[in-house]
């Protein structure tokens, strides 16, 4: 059955939209990421204008992340207090980053620099996570020793320390706010959600257990996605409610399945799959940057 999408102005098979939403929701539930990196280009390939694809995608992330957060929350995997502090930092960082983009654009070569940094960052984070998780899977016996040899990180040493019971860590509120601010600013600069940066930071810098990091990352995503959906509706008029509705039905179901698969996987298995996705996104971006595009002129908008 085909459905006409009112804002996109095109028709699409309903099962295709539901299926795409389901796949992206699965990733959300599993890794706490929005999935815009995957869904926006896929929607564009099916004829949805880029600006509508990006905005409607953000709307469905609200549903997927809310669905995933509730499921993770019931299993005790969402640190609401910690997430809230990072979220406030992220919101302020995002606003600062948006203003910074305007300023940096005037200096020229901004997009070039940002793309290079993003690819290098994805390569670095992806490779590090892959190697770390791979080693953890191979040397499980040596894990305890490696763990105990680590001293407290900077985030733990800064002032205004508080104990976050759900994550099981003692950490400086200033550091959490600062990290949230940095992630928000980076996300605004790169023009992406932030899940890719949030999860590794929570796992490796804050040392939150993987599953709790996924749940908490998803919790913060709900609010950032709401913020962007409202902004897109008011400023750009590009949210397609029908497209988003189909996507979010699929993605809410996908997120629930993702959460349950995540519970069955071991932490290092989860990290290694996530690292492979990060590396996959990096390869795709590098490919887009290096290979001559099929058309030099495309419709504007989108990520």
């Amino acid at each position: 059955m085909s459905i006409f999408l009112p804002i996109a102005g095109v028709q699409m098979p309903a099962y295709l939209v539901l299926g795409l939403g389901g796949i992206v929701g699965l990733l959300s539930g599993l890794f706490g990421v929005g999935g815009g990196f995957l869904l926006t280009p896929l929607l564009m390939m099916t004829g949805v204008p880029p600006a509508v694809a990006a905005a409607s995608d953000t709307n469905q992330i609200v549903a997927a992340s809310a669905s995933g957060t509730l499921a993770h929350g019931r299993a005790g995997n969402v640190d609401f207090r910690l997430g809230l502090v990072m979220l406030v930092g992220g919101m302020i960082g995002g606003t600062t980053g948006t203003s910074l983009v305007r300023l940096l654009r005037q200096l020229g070569n901004f997009d070039f620099t940002v793309k290079i940094i993003y690819v290098v960052m994805l390569l670095g984070v992806g490779s590090f996570m892959f190697l770390e998780s791979f080693n953890a899977m191979r040397k499980k016996g040596e894990q305890a020793q490696a763990r105990s040899s680590r001293g407290p990180g900077l985030a733990q040493r800064l002032p205004f320390r508080a104990y976050f019971a759900t994550s099981g860590i003692e950490c400086s509120v200033v550091a959490l706010f600062g990290l949230g601010f940095l992630i928000g600013m980076l996300a605004a600069l790169m023009g992406v959600g932030g899940g890719f940066i949030m999860l590794p930071v929570m796992i490796y810098v804050l040392r939150i257990p993987t599953l709790k990091a996924v749940g908490t990352s998803l919790f913060t995503t709900v609010f950032t996605a709401i913020n962007v959906t409202l902004a897109n509706s008011v400023v750009n008029e590009t949210v397609d409610l029908v497209l988003a509705l189909l996507l979010l039905l699929g993605s809410s179901v996908g997120a629930q399945i993702g959460v349950r698969i995540g519970r069955m996987l071991k932490a290092e298995q989860l990290r290694i799959v996530f690292s492979l996705i990060v590396l996959g996104v990096m390869v795709k971006m590098a490919h887009d940057l290096l290979v001559t595009p099929s058309s030099l002129i495309v419709l504007g908008g989108g990520h």
Binding site: S2, I3, F4, P6, I7, G9, Q11, N59, Q60, V62, A63, A64, T69, L70, A71, G108, D111, F112, K115, A136, Q143, A146, R147, Y204, R207, P209, T210, L211, I226, T229, S233, V234, E237, V239, D240, L241, V242, A244, L245, L248, L249, S252, V253, A255, R260, R263, L265, K266, A267, E268, L289, V291, T292, S295, L296, I297, V298, L299, G300, G301
Partner: protein, 285 residues
């Protein structure tokens, strides 16, 4: 000749000229008559496109050229270019005055029309009428420049290709069927058809001269949920955004409750507790 007679003669001549000029379009219109069925298309949630029938009458020995044009609008485009070794977006362009639909159907060849007639009717193989009416505002870094449709050829070429691929722009020669002094063509409009009013013009041409022309309109309007969403998104963005967020949150909550219920049901039926293999010892900290 007396001056008064001169004035009277001149007045009579002017009146005769006025009557003649006024009667020309009417005469041209009378020679050709064009109709479209249906005249109105409702775009609802199940809309996948629609076939329309353009019919009419024209002198039997003339060739028929039919043009379907929607209202002009503005489109944003991005241009990629090489920066060092990388392909990136290097310019943005706002193209104005380009219709979303521009279709030409004819009973004869377009080449058979003299150049001057092609210009007059806006019927040619390269959509030059659209190019002439379009303006392009290109932003490249800090530099902004205005281009005419002819200067911004690469933008329009790319846009026309996208529209042709979507069946929004088309040139189909020998597509109009003639039977005596009546003609007919079926036009298949895609789901992405231009909304609003489009004008269909039929020309009867013989020996490089227009014998007559006639116009009719086709109205495409969104209805039901499609109409509501389009109007709401354009007229009340904040409320539309709040609806979008609440629907998403409600769906997220509803699906979570459903899964939770199903999980409990399965647990009650099988007596099994879902396996959770996340091993705290496997954590890196």
């Amino acid at each position: 000749m007396k001056p008064l007679v001169k004035v009277k003669t001149l007045t009579c001549l002017l009146f005769a000229l006025l009557v003649f000029l006024c009667s020309v379009p009417a005469a041209l219109a009378d020679v050709v008559k064009v109709n479209v069925a249906p005249r109105k298309i409702d775009v609802g949630i199940n809309f996948t496109g629609q076939t329309i029938d353009v019919t009419g009458t024209a002198p039997a020995d003339s060739q028929i050229y039919i043009k379907l044009v929607s209202a002009p609008r503005s489109v944003d485009l991005s241009r990629k270019g090489k920066v060092g070794v990388l392909w990136m977006n290097v310019a943005q362009a706002e193209v104005e005055g380009v219709p979303k639909m521009y279709q030409v159907y004819s009973s004869g060849k377009i080449d058979a029309l003299p150049a001057q007639l092609q210009e007059e009717t806006g019927i040619d193989a390269d959509f030059n009428a659209v190019r002439d009416a379009a303006t392009i505002k290109e932003t490249e870094g800090n530099r902004v420049r205005k281009l005419s449709g002819r200067d911004g050829k690469m933008y329009l070429d790319a846009l026309f290709k996208m529209y042709r691929d979507d069946n929004l722009y088309a040139i189909k020669e020998d597509a109009v069927q003639k039977n005596g002094n009546s003609f007919h063509v079926s036009i298949s409009l895609p789901g992405s058809v231009a909304q609003g009013e489009s004008v269909i013009t039929a020309y009867a041409v013989k020996d490089g001269t227009i014998l007559g022309q006639s116009k009719t309109t086709l109205t495409v309007r969104p209805v039901g949920l499609v109409g509501w969403a389009r109007t709401m998104a354009k007229t009340n963005g904040p409320l539309y955004g709040i609806y979008a967020v609440f629907i998403a949150l409600a769906a997220g909550l509803g699906i979570d409750m459903l899964f939770n219920y199903l999980e409990k049901l399965i647990r009650a039926l099988t007596g099994k507790v879902p396996r959770e293999a996340s091993d705290p010892a496997a954590e890196i900290h």
